[in-house]
């Protein structure tokens, strides 16, 4: 139990630190690579929540797919994109970003207040599911349950999301054509 606590705080510290670095860094490529670290730490947190399949999917889809896509976009759009980015971020940084900082911090304070007042650990449906032993324990295999539920309970959302994914990919391929071929 103590090891789980230590791992949680370690992963949380890594995730928050790298996310803060993403927010603070002026170097675009470096912030993208720190976002890698955030995503890996979040995958570790999913494992601590006993959601191993979601953690693997996070690593495969986010790290293997989305971040590589973002890096591709950089490399394909040429050097002007990167150099143009760096010259924008040197003057009046503090005053420019003060409203955003204030909004984020105040929103965080509001959220934490809500979380502490909600007392979610004693919510009725959670204590009910603990009483009915509906909680995932460490020795359970969750992948079977996900597979069966995906094909029975959640078949409609599954199909809807497949069609949405197909539409998004066709749309992305259409959007990224060269202008001349369109006619």
């Amino acid at each position: 139990m103590i090891l789980i606590t230590v791992m949680f705080y370690l992963m949380a510290a890594i995730a928050l630190g790298s996310a803060l670095y993403v927010a603070a860094s002026k170097n675009l490529v470096r912030s993208v690579f720190m976002f890698f670290v955030t995503l890996f730490a979040l995958a570790g947190l999913y494992v601590l929540c006993l959601a191993d399949f979601v953690a693997i999917t996070q690593v495969v889809v986010y790290v293997g797919g989305i971040l590589v896509l973002i890096l591709f976009a950089f490399m394909l759009s040429g050097r002007e994109l990167l150099s143009g980015l760096q010259q924008q971020t040197n003057r009046l940084i503090a005053i420019n970003k003060l409203p955003a900082l204030m909004l984020a911090v105040l929103f965080f304070i509001v959220l934490v207040n809500i979380f502490l007042k909600a007392n979610i650990d004693n919510a009725s449906w959670i204590s009910q599911s603990i009483a009915q032993k509906n909680v995932i324990t460490v020795t359970d295999v969750t992948v079977n349950g996900i597979g069966v539920n995906l094909m029975t309970n959640y078949l409609l959302p599954f199909e809807a999301i497949s069609i949405l994914l197909l539409m998004a990919l066709v749309g992305a391929a259409h959007l990224s054509r060269k202008e001349g071929e369109a006619a």
């Binding site: 927010a23 959601a51 979610i120 509906n134 599954f158 749309g171 990224s176």
Partner: protein, 101 residues
């Protein structure tokens, strides 16, 4: 013992960092990274609560759906960013201020 409140506070912090990135950055790709951070905060909540639903495994299933949606959204958004860069030679959302014609 790690309770649900720990996960809620952590995901709230990640969400607010994402909010700050979206508001403060003058670069469409970094704004996209902020959106991804906010989505990940939501997925963390789904997974943390999904622990208490073993039979239906609703939390984990919808976490998977959210990850797939994020992938689709990123693909389209990056294609749009590339198009915008081709037309305006900048991806600062504050300087994209005219329509096509």
């Amino acid at each position: 013992m790690i309770t649900l409140t720990h996960y809620l506070v952590l995901s709230g912090a990640l969400f607010c960092i994402g909010l700050y990135v979206i508001l403060a950055k003058q670069n469409a790709v970094q704004i996209l990274i902020g959106v991804e951070l906010m989505l990940n905060a939501a997925i963390l909540n789904l997974v943390a609560f999904g622990r208490f639903d073993k039979l239906n495994s609703s939390g984990q299933t919808f976490a998977l759906f959210a990850i797939i949606l994020a992938a689709a959204a990123t693909a389209v958004a990056l294609a749009i960013v590339l198009n915008v860069y081709r037309r305006y030679k900048t991806i600062d959302p504050g300087r994209i201020n005219e329509l096509k014609d």
